[in-house]
Amino acid sequence: MKVIKQISLFLENRSGQLLEITKLLSASGIDLKAVHIAETADYGIIRLITDDYEKACEILKENGYIISLNDVFAVGVSDKSGGLSELLTVMADYEINIVYMYSVFGQKHGTAYMVLRVDNAEMFAKMIEENNFITADSAELGIK
């Protein structure tokens, strides 16, 4: 089962907070492959996939950010109407819940990737295998 490293950061809901991070990372030549925000009224969690997660973590920690590094799955779905439904239908059959999900575009034409955190990773891996889903590895998403 191929996994992708995702960095999560705690951010307050104030203007300029996200900009500080993108500036910080771009100054070190880090490329963002995916950015996702989950927010409440007061704060948010920024989830990042970068081309060099080790370096990104180091820079963020040095600058006092609270981060969490997690393994997530990137599952390929066909980039057309109903593509995501196929995946979700199978997940429902396996009774796997999504903790969160967002999409990222791959380099292969015609495939979109859904980045997922699920409540039962073991079952999810089994599901991927039994149903021949494509999962992206780092290279596919342009990660070093």
């Binding site: 705690f10 307050e12 989950a38 409440t40 007061d42 969690i45 609270i66 903790v99 955190r117």
Partner: protein, 432 residues
Amino acid sequence: MEKYYQKEFECASAEEMRAIQTERLVKQVKHVWDNVPHYRKKMEEKGVCPDDIKTLEDLSKLPFMTKADLRDCYPDGLLAVPKADCVRIHSTSGTTGKRVVAFYTQHDVDLWEDCCARALTAAGATNEDVCQVAYGYGLFTGGAGLHGGSHKIGSLTLPMSSGNTDRQLQFMTDLGSTVLCCTPSYAAYLAECINEKGIKDQIKLKAGIFGAEAWSESMRQSIQEDLGIKAYDIYGLTEISGPGVAFECCEQNGMHVNEDHFIPEIIDPETLEPLPLGTQGELVFTSITKEAFPLLRYRTRDICILNREKCSCGRTLVKMCKPMGRSDDMLIVKGVNVFPSQIETVLIEQGYQSNYQIIVDRKNNSDTLEVMVEMTQENFSDSLGKITEMEKSLVAALKAMLGIYAKVRLVAPKSIARSEGKAVRVIDKRKI
């Protein structure tokens, strides 16, 4: 014509009051010495015994009692009579989460209710009145104290307790309440609701007794205008008995201390030396009539001034001004004592750092409490669900500790200003 509940005490001459206080003080010191080992030890450490206390001037020889003594002796270490002689307890939150439990014999309940009856009488209440008690009932002393006082003067008592505003207003109109007892912020809220509903013409209130939290003269004016009543202040603390330690009369410019039961002193909180009348300092009480839980020289931490100028109401009881602040860091939020140390304890238990800020404000006449705390590496997760769960559990733990709701605001690490010296833990935005 001014009415009194116990004229012989309320209007006693200076000599009479001195005689009453002296006799009761001498007896009380002996009672405490004989029955409370903790206090006896404190007296021995200070080299003073009951024989040294013969006049009111000797009061200053006695050691002070503080909230720390109450905490150390929790729950019943300061009890001066057998438990079998006690009929009730009341309780308040104390420092670092330990509560203060105050015990009452029937005699203690009676004298406390007498004090509340004096306050109600000074506010013009009689047996013809309908007294709506909208203070909380239960461990809090507010409800029980005014309830008992209202019974003593024979008013028809409505034991409403706090909250449930629609029901409050229904009883107020249906039963024609004439006297309202509650916190000033709740009185202001009730006034607002009455005006919104346009039912002011059905309200028969003439007076209100409002205490348990700080309120300003301008708030008094607006409550008086909005409800068409006279609004009286009342002072008290659970440790000494409850509401009614001091009460306002028709002059509405300070509260008469029931000094035949509670001798007030003003001290310098730094040097602990007694200060003369008219000087600002920390208020200290000695309860000279209570049997079960008699505190001698209890430091209230309230800063105020006493004065003995002649009062037009005819009462000779010494007057205290509204407390002007605290000599410790206690906050009173929604009538509840809140110590920053309690909040700190909860934060550390829940894995947060002790860097936090407490913001108290007053919105729509109701106090609000917000705790700003920095997110930590340990508590952080990539799942928003997990973080909101933690936030909920922190809110629940704070509620359990403080007894009131506090909003929690998670902020980024290092975003709460560190200070060089004493940290600014509390920002009180209330305009009182």
